[in-house]
């Protein structure tokens, strides 16, 4: 099968668009979607200048998604003095797994010549995920602890590094799953928060004074294409799954989406497009409600809605 745009042999077929693309045109197509998302989300503000550059911190785990995001943002902005990229890697204390992916992060940051910061749960909190899953005082999935700790460190270091933006490598599959999960849980306020936290164009979000704004420029690209992009570009992405991964509900939704996508190509795109529109309306509706009850955690001082933040209460139960 030939590429739709040239005579070369196709390496992929996108059922949702009907396209067959060769490696070069596939690359171009992925990069175009990421750059379009950067523009549509207004990620580069008008007042960014070479004298007043923006710092973009990328959550760089060394997996395919964050490696592809870092590579494309670097290719896009390497010559642009208004944007400075910093890779932020978090070691959760998972023996054998994270050590190797950190090598991938260091290699990539070296190759691209970008600044790279490495922090760990052990140094920051005195815990390692390998021990947390053994203790499991709250009887929760590993990801439930890990997500709280990771978000805390991403936010803390984004602030420390004086980031203007915190970027993560969530792809279309990730975001369509989250959209469907939020919808099925019936939590409209959560959907509104999702818009203000990371989905909306920067210019349309309600001011989140306490937090560094987040963005997900890879969210128009299906997971499969992110993996293929890493493959055809020979990027140093780490290819092992986390040994503690266990998100049962997300797995169920993921399977549902695979089945829907096979019979109705384009389902993930339409779920996310409709969800983003609804989230904008919900954010507008809830606008002004947010932030009123935010306070400082009595333990660590981070912004929270409780007296003691979730991270501190988890750490307390782990002792």
């Amino acid at each position: 099968m030939d590429c739709n745009r040239c005579g070369e042999e196709a390496v992929m077929h996108a059922a949702y668009s009907g396209a067959h693309l060769c490696a070069d045109h596939f690359r171009e197509s992925v990069e175009k979607r990421v750059r379009r998302r950067v523009r549509r989300d207004d990620l580069v503000p008008r007042d960014a200048t070479p004298e007043n550059p923006q710092t973009w911190v990328i959550g760089l785990s060394g997996g395919k998604d964050s490696v592809v995001l870092t590579q494309i943002l670097h290719d896009t902005f390497a010559e642009d003095p208004r944007i400075e990229l910093v890779g932020l890697t978090i070691h959760e204390g998972i023996e054998g797994y994270r050590d190797k992916s950190i090598d991938a992060c260091v290699e990539l940051a070296d190759d691209l010549g970008i600044r790279h910061e490495l922090v760990s749960y052990e140094e920051e909190f005195g815990v390692r995920m390998d021990d947390v899953v053994e203790d499991d005082p709250e009887n929760m999935a590993a990801c439930a602890y890990c997500g709280v700790f990771r978000r805390d460190l991403l936010e803390k270091y984004a602030e420390k590094l004086e980031a203007d933006l915190l970027l993560t490598g969530h792809n279309l599959d990730d975001e369509a799953q989250t959209a469907l999960m939020n919808f099925l849980e019936g939590d409209v306020e959560q959907i509104a928060k999702h818009f203000d936290a990371s989905l909306g164009a920067l210019s349309e979000r309600e001011e989140q004074g306490e937090f560094v704004p987040r963005a997900k420029p890879l969210r128009d690209v299906p997971e499969k294409e992110v993996a293929l992009y890493a493959h055809v570009n020979d990027l140093p992405a780490h290819i092992t799954e986390c040994p503690h991964a266990s998100e049962a509900y997300r797995g169920e939704i993921q399977q549902l989406l695979y089945d829907l996508e096979e019979n109705h190509p384009g389902t993930r795109h339409s779920i996310l497009a409709g969800y983003e529109d609804l989230a904008a309306i919900a954010a507008d509706e809830f606008s002004g409600d947010d932030g009123a009850d935010l306070r400082e955690c009595a333990e660590c001082g981070s912004t929270t809605t409780r007296e003691i933040c979730r991270k501190c209460s988890l750490l307390e139960s782990l002792v």
Binding site: S61, V67, E261
Partner: protein, 78 residues
């Protein structure tokens, strides 16, 4: 034709192409199993794997032309 489907890190299956159920007909009207049809035989979605023939990614809607297919599961996270 018998096709070896090597799902990396998991099982390797020998599949008789004649026994594969076909979802669509090709341009000449002859139903030919595609890589996507082959994936269905091993209970995988084309959205969770990459299919490689001789180390090269192939579009899953294409008719199976090789007797050895490598299937790489996507790695979650990151």
């Amino acid at each position: 034709m018998r096709v070896t489907v090597d799902v990396k890190g998991e099982e390797t299956r020998e599949i008789d192409l004649e026994s594969v159920s076909v979802s669509g007909a090709t341009a000449d009207g002859e139903p030919t199993p595609t890589y996507q049809d082959l994936l269905r035989e091993v209970d995988l979605s084309p959205h969770e794997v990459s299919v490689l023939v001789d180390g090269r990614p192939v579009p899953e809607d294409q008719p199976v032309e090789s007797d050895h297919v490598t299937v790489l599961r996507l790695i979650k996270g990151g």
